[in-house]
């Protein structure tokens, strides 16, 4: 059986399959579908400093090749998360990422400081890139200096590893990746949703209550894959790929593009048992290909640059 273990900087994961924020609850709710001990890690729904009731309905709208959403980070705030969710997560046999959101640098710093004392949290993933708050203006996701200030503030407030989740809604995601790397990020998650819109021309009614929202699902996979690849070749910290992944083949493509692990998002809505099945499929595909370790796939893209391989080396993983 092929070895699926990977490392992401200081983190050791039993396999590269994680849940994406907002698509798997806080993690343990889904234990009857995929047990946590089968997952490389669980990423929580975004937690904010104060409670957020979320956006108006409709909040989701399916399109031909994916899903638009404008949930608006509905959550009961960090204190509720610490009191009601984290006690259960303490015993979870997997790496626990808490995804944090904020509307100001101070918000990010405060929530990071609050979670720094929580032993159940292994990693903070900083959501710089939710398109469904602050009028879709993405202030932390489109300006490298804003992104850097938020990551710096989190870095100063916690001793835990910090991953910065980037938006694909930028011209040069590599520059964003470099900005958060210089600000002290342990790693990068690439990417969040693309801005999108649906409308019924007969009635003029938009598909979402907020008109525009975040587009995810199989339709964004090539865009996400390119973004993840650009990030991986631009920085020397590990990159977690995310966007439209629905099969084990997709997972291996993101690894080939230079990612050390991946997050499954929209595909879990269609089947919450998918992460477990993808892990089984990964073992089978690697065995069929005669690969002893999944690490041999990481950064193996022949893009003529070799930088992805370099970054894979920097992640402390075997490049071949």
């Amino acid at each position: 059986m092929a070895d699926l273990a990977v490392t992401l900087g200081p983190l050791s994961l039993r396999n590269p399959v994680l849940s994406a924020s907002g698509t798997y609850g806080h993690g343990l709710e889904m234990c009857h579908f995929t047990p946590p001990e089968r997952m490389g890690g669980l990423v929580s729904k975004t937690v904010t400093l104060r409670p957020r009731p979320g956006n108006a309905q409709p909040r989701i709208c399916e399109t031909r090749a994916g899903l638009l959403n404008s949930i608006g980070l509905e959550n009961k705030g960090v204190e509720n998360y610490v009191e009601t969710i984290l006690p259960d997560m303490l015993g979870a046999d997997t790496v626990v990422f808490t995804n944090i959101g904020g509307e100001s640098v101070e918000d990010f710093a405060e929530i990071a400081a609050r979670l720094d004392r929580e032993p159940a949290v292994d990693v903070l993933e900083v959501n710089l890139s939710c398109p469904n708050v602050q009028g879709g203006k993405l202030p932390f996701a489109t300006d490298p200096s804003n992104a850097a200030r938020a990551v710096e503030a989190v870095r100063r407030a916690t001793s835990k590893p910090v991953f910065a989740k980037l938006s694909p809604n930028v011209s040069h995601i590599g520059e964003m990746a470099q900005a958060v790397e210089q600000a002290g990020a342990t790693g990068i998650t690439a990417v969040n949703t693309l801005l999108g819109l649906a409308v019924d021309w007969r009635t003029g009614k938009p598909g979402l209550g907020t008109v525009q929202g975040g587009y995810s699902g199989p339709g964004i996979k090539p865009v996400a894959l390119r973004c993840a690849w650009e990030c991986a070749r631009s920085v020397s910290i590990p990159v977690i790929g995310c966007g439209g992944i629905a099969t084990a083949e997709d997972v291996l493509e993101f690894l080939a593009a230079g990612c050390g692990a991946v997050e499954l998002g929209t595909a879990c809505f269609a089947d919450p048992a998918l992460p477990g099945r993808i892990v089984e499929d990964l073992e089978r595909l690697l065995d069929e290909a005669g690969r002893a370790s999944i690490r041999s796939v990481i950064g193996s893209i022949r893009d003529g640059r070799g930088s992805s391989r370099d970054s894979a080396h920097a992640q402390g993983v075997e490049a071949r």
Partner: protein
């Protein structure tokens, strides 16, 4: 943290029959890969046809009947997802996630009579509600058939799905149609008031309702006005059915039994809610 029910699983099922039902619906029967325990009426499954071209997101369907190891669903053809399901063939594979949601409260024979109000395809959670109420639920006394009235409304008689089957259960069935092609000419709320006025329904009853939003609003208003207990089985857009996407919020009543949070998740806290717990 509302979580999916502990008995919910993701599994495959083979379609064993698809039969037309009424003007625009089909009855889809499927045999799950593993045997299933009896399912409470008004719980639901997420259904997705594994044909490679069907929509990405599965669709929620109430369990309509469960017998001989098969699950049956009433599928009204409305959009892309239901069209794909209705066009499926015997032998094709489905992925099912479920059983999901809470289902109807205990339908006992110990208190007031029951009135079930169904609108169109909102009749789906009632055949099993009748079956389970007549058999006795949760160790409580069975309901006498004379103590259940089903008020079934639709635009016309072709949309009163399985009306004859419902009549054959022995409960009191009253139809209402907008065009007068069957039963009462008008809606189910007017029918309810007329039956009470004629003494054919007692004034004090317990209500269950499932149907279009305006009908549910009217039922909720009727219950409040008459001081009746009332439960509503809701349908919303759902992205997952298991409580993770936050795409199916139902507005809760301030100071209501669901707590202070403004939204409940229809999929894991419902689909059945007490009418006095939510705002429609």
């Amino acid at each position: 943290m509302p979580a999916p029910p502990p008995d919910a699983r993701s599994f495959l099922a083979e379609i064993t029959a698809i039969e037309p039902c009424g003007a625009d619906a089909v009855l889809l029967r499927a045999r799950p890969e593993r045997a299933m325990a009896p399912i409470r009426a008004s719980r639901f499954f997420m259904l997705k046809l594994l044909d490679g071209t069907s929509p990405l997101i599965p669709r929620p369907y109430s369990i309509y009947r469960q017998r001989n190891g098969e699950l049956e669903f009433l599928v009204k053809v409305m959009g892309q997802g239901s069209r794909a399901l209705a066009a499926a063939r015997k032998g094709q594979e489905l992925r099912l996630i479920g059983p999901l949601g809470n289902g109807w409260p205990t339908l006992d024979g110990e208190g007031l009579p029951w009135v079930f109000v169904a609108g169109g395809v909102g009749s789906a959670p009632f055949p099993m509600a009748i079956e389970q109420a007549l058999a006795g639920m949760d160790g409580r006394a069975a309901v006498d058939p004379g103590s259940i009235s089903l008020l079934f409304g639709a635009a016309n008689r072709e949309l009163l799905y399985d009306l004859d089957v419902l009549r054959s259960t022995g409960v009191r069935v009253h139809a209402a149609t907008d065009d007068g092609s069957e039963g009462w000419h008008g809606n189910v709320i007017e029918l309810f008031e007329a039956l009470v006025a004629k003494g054919e329904l007692p004034e004090e009853v317990r209500l269950l309702a499932c149907g279009p939003d305006p009908m549910l609003e009217a039922c909720s208003e009727l219950a409040e006005r008459r001081g009746l207990e009332c439960w509503l089985s809701l349908e919303t857009v759902m992205g997952c059915g298991v409580g993770i996407c936050n795409g199916c919020p139902v507005m809760t009543r301030p100071e209501g039994p669901l707590g202070a949070w403004p939204n409940a998740k229809c999929c894991v806290e419902g689909p059945v809610f007490r009418a006095d717990a939510i705002c429609l």
